[in-house]
Amino acid sequence: MADADRSASDFAADGGHGAVPLEGVETGLGRAPSGEWPLYEVFVRGKRGLNHVHVGSLHAADDRMAVRHARDVYTRRNEGVSIWVVRADAVTASSPDEKDPLFAPAGDKVYRHPTFYDIPDDVPHM
């Protein structure tokens, strides 16, 4: 398909590597043949973790089965205390074509990092 015809729903935030084209990948969205399980993205919060972190994706027939599968596949090594799953086709991702206008402008704004301050010795956890 021509780039110009692509819309946000043609991409998923699969694999934690940013936008991945969904063309030819079965996600359970409309075009998927019946009998294929939809794709889910899995987020796990670790024991010491502050937030849920994307750990991968899997296939499941429905939301509840996706939670079970995520438990079996992604928390085997004592990682998790909480799981989120979300249908991959419910994720709206930025398009690789927009990479430069979206992200390049931040590349030279070094003054946006809080590195130009002297931190007092009695301020912890910095």
């Binding site: 670790g46 502050l50 899997l58 296939h59 089965m65 079970r68 079996d72 004592n78 956890h125």
Partner: protein, 311 residues
């Protein structure tokens, strides 16, 4: 208050050497027997305790091995891992139970060549002959298809969960600790299997056909689960074990509930009879089908070829 009162707790106050709290994943592994008194309680016959532990341990070991045979062959990757996880849970229970059997009565452990580094629980798993295994025959048949496997897992887990829940208050502190750990694991096994049985039975015509075909094959050995063996009765009388006859009603209620949601009924099949050769002819007596001999031959061959091997 929960242990996660503040999401920042994990990032502060853990500066001691060897502290691993900076890692988000995979720390804080627990030893289920940490701090447990391992002396045998007063009034308990060590031979009874050892044999009772062999029964529960062999159930877990045989079921674990059968489930591990699914590895790389399950219908999809997620269930392949799920079945392997369940097999590993059961293997862990088997290891603890066989070790407890060996500690209670060292006479049950096969004698290995002088200087063999094989620990007692491995000697019990890999160097006993078929007739010394005490597992239920219910667990011996080959897996069949995924429907038969999940049905057998459902019935087996419902039975085991009921036993472990009662064993959590066993007078033997080691059995009690093993049961407390096992209850959490087997609760998930029962849930996993129950969901699949309902899904398959209410799924496509083909998946339902497979469940309906498998049910009588699994149910044939169902009565054996609740037949009391004298060792189980003795273990229950001394407060360390559970008489399986006492859990039949509870397990039956759970199974009937799943079967009802699945639109299935208890099949009307003749129960498998006792095996010839003395005792009560039960799996608990060491009377087994040929299927167990073949399973053990495969499972034990490598360890037996290297009795001094260090694994």
């Amino acid at each position: 208050m929960s242990e996660h009162d503040s999401v920042y707790d994990g990032l502060s106050g853990h500066d001691a050497p060897g502290d691993d709290s900076q890692w988000a994943f995979g720390t804080d592994f627990e030893d289920p027997l940490a701090g447990v008194d391992t002396t045998i309680p007063d009034g308990v016959d060590p031979a009874v305790l050892a044999t009772y532990c062999l029964m529960l341990g062999d159930d877990a070991l045989v079921h674990s091995h059968r489930l591990s045979q699914w590895t790389s062959r399950a219908p999809d990757l997620e269930d392949d891992i799920a079945l392997a996880n369940i097999a590993l849970d059961l293997l862990g229970q088997a290891r603890l139970l066989l070790a407890r059997a060996a500690a209670a009565d060292p006479a049950v452990v096969p004698v290995l060549p002088e200087g063999s580094p094989v620990p007692p629980e491995d000697a019990l798993a890999f160097f006993r002959d078929t007739a010394d295994f005490r597992n239920l025959r219910f667990l011996e048949p080959e897996n069949g298809d995924f429907a038969e496997t999940t049905l057998r897992l459902l019935v087996g887990a419902a039975h085991r969960l009921a036993l472990l829940q009662r064993l959590a208050t066993s007078r033997d502190p080691v059995l009690s600790a093993i049961a407390v750990k096992g209850v959490k694991e087997v609760t998930y096994h029962r849930d996993y299997a129950g969901r699949w049985v309902v899904t398959l039975a209410q799924g496509t015509a083909e998946s339902r056909r497979r469940v309906v075909t498998a049910l009588p094959r699994v149910w044939r050995h169902h009565a054996e689960l609740f037949r009391s063996h004298p060792v189980e009765v003795a273990a229950a009388a001394s407060g360390v074990g559970v008489d399986p006859a006492t859990v039949e009603g509870e397990v039956g209620a759970v199974l009937d509930q799943v079967l009802a949601v699945a639109g299935l009924e208890r099949p009307d099949v003749p129960a498998a009879g006792p095996m010839p050769g003395g005792g009560h002819g039960m799996g608990r007596d060491g009377r087994h089908t040929e299927l167990l001999s073949r399973l053990l031959a495969e499972m034990q061959s490598v360890a037996r070829a290297h009795p001094r091997g260090l694994w």
